[in-house]
């Protein structure tokens, strides 16, 4: 729900190619133990996640979905590997999930896109109903297969059909479910690790964001400097 349309608007654009002029980067703050842009070492020993909101089948659906929204690549982990499923689970179990700041008074009408979210559902309800509706619609379309069991290409096809509304849910507009899932996935990948996602600050390392501790008065006018300090999160308590 949050900001998804603005991202879409941002992407909508016409491109022209201009001449490149390179500013050579200089290096400031050589990396310490964990370089900011270094890939994450494999973590086979990560503790199993206990879910506060999702049922096991729901978690399987969400894991399969967010790992197509942000898949693993050679350098950086997938959304679920970064803890995004746990992030969404905890969000849904908290005030956000219960719609603590949503205006939830009727009467209810669908409205126009520019009028924003108009469903009588809290985010937690939206997921519960949306996952069930999505799984059912997908199972029908893909010959009885569950979403989590589809191939990567099939999952992308299914998610694309939910995104556009081509795959229709009876209970709610499929694109609203998709946009909420996408927004929450991006939140989970990039928010402070205290919320359960962005595990080991992989989202921050991937883009080079230094995190919650920030004072750049010395560097801001050193244009083009390559700033490599490892990120620091809010929950870090020392070494």
């Amino acid at each position: 729900m949050d900001g998804s349309l603005s991202r879409r608007a941002f992407l909508k654009a016409a491109g022209t190619v201009a001449t490149a002029s390179a500013l050579p980067g200089t290096v400031l703050a050589q990396p310490t133990a964990t370089p900011r842009t270094a890939p994450l070492p494999a973590q086979p020993g990560a503790a199993p996640a206990l879910f506060l909101f999702f049922t096991v089948p729901e978690a399987e659906f969400v894991t399969a979905a967010v790992d197509r929204l942000i898949p693993a690549d050679a350098q950086w982990p997938s959304a679920s590997q970064a803890g995004v499923v746990n992030f969404i689970d905890r969000q849904l179990a908290s005030g956000y999930g219960s719609g603590e700041r949503l205006y939830l008074q009727g009467p209810w009408q669908r409205g126009m896109p520019g009028q924003g979210y108009q469903l009588p559902l809290t985010p937690a309800q939206l997921y519960r109903i949306g996952i069930s509706a999505a799984d059912r619609a997908i199972t029908q379309r893909f010959d009885g297969q569950r979403f989590a069991d589809l191939s990567a290409a099939q999952k992308d096809e299914a998610l694309g059909a939910i995104e556009t509304g081509e795959l229709d849910f009876e209970e709610l507009p499929a694109p609203v479910f998709f946009e909420t899932l996408l927004a929450n996935t991006i939140e989970g990948f990039f928010s402070d690790p205290v919320y359960g996602g962005n595990r080991d600050m992989v989202g921050w390392r991937m883009v080079g964001f230094p995190g919650a501790y920030a004072s750049f008065i010395h560097e801001v006018d050193q244009h083009g400097v390559r700033y490599t300090r490892a990120p620091i999160g809010m929950g870090q308590t020392g070494h």
Binding site: P24, A29, T32, Y213, Q222, R229, Q236, G238, H239
Partner: protein, 235 residues
């Protein structure tokens, strides 16, 4: 500092064009300076006061240098030399060394480790006051939290904000006094001078012992674990 960084940057740019080596620290030279072993060296060896592992001492005059960020120590050497941080001992030493020497000796101490000998026991109420100031600042005094800039648990933020964890309280108290009296004037935009002017002596004491009570960066576990936490006197 900024000028030096710009010089370093310029050197790097030059490096791209003509491919000579950019300014890099020579740690071996840094070590030589630290032990006073360089041929013809006239200034005092660093280790005599700061220790060969940079651990310093609780006299207040000799801070811990072990694992301190190169850029921070380098700036202090420059500021000792240029008078913005005047000091009877350090100013002549810094002036006798070259800019490359500053870099080398700073980098030498930055990569050192020292055994963690523990911290003395401090008054708990004062520690709590210090912890509050560190994490939240003071509405009454109009002072922001220390950890904004000096990092979680005072571990510092590279490259400009030194670590305070495990630093000697006596040293930090002395620096607060220097800022307050206008002796030390090398903080950016007078941020520390402003803070020093707003805190009482009790505040300064509390926040200083709080940071000393934390495990410093560059610590290794001591060979005799826990045997000599009292090797520093209670203060």
């Amino acid at each position: 500092m900024l000028r030096l960084l710009r010089q370093l940057a310029a050197t790097t740019l030059l490096a791209l064009a003509a491919a000579p080596a950019p300014a890099q620290p020579n740690i071996a030279n840094g070590q030589l300076i630290a032990v006073g072993g360089r041929e013809g060296q006239v200034q005092t060896a660093c280790f005599r006061c700061h220790g060969i592992d940079g651990a310093g001492d609780s006299s207040g005059a000799f801070p811990r240098l072990t694992g301190q960020f190169t850029e921070y120590t380098l700036k202090q050497m420059r500021d000792y030399a240029n008078g913005s941080r005047p000091n009877d001992i350090m100013t002549p030493i810094a002036q006798a060394l070259s800019e490359q020497d500053w870099l080398d000796v700073s980098a030498f101490y930055a990569q050192l480790e020292a055994p963690d000998l523990g911290r003395p026991a401090f008054d708990v109420a004062a520690l709590q006051r210090g912890a509050d100031l560190s994490a939240s600042g003071s509405a009454e005094r109009g002072v922001q939290a220390c950890i904004n800039c000096h990092g979680p648990a005072g571990i510092g933020i590279e490259p400009h904000y030194p670590y305070l964890a495990g630093q000697f309280a006596t040293y930090m108290e002395l620096q607060f006094r220097f800022w307050k009296e206008g002796v030390r004037r090398n903080d950016h935009y007078g941020v520390m001078t402003d803070i020093a002017n707003r805190l009482t002596d009790e505040d300064v004491r509390a926040v200083s012992i709080y940071f000393e009570s934390l495990r410093p960066p560059g610590s290794t576990d001591p060979d005799l674990r826990g045997s000599d936490a009292a090797s520093r006197p209670e203060r």
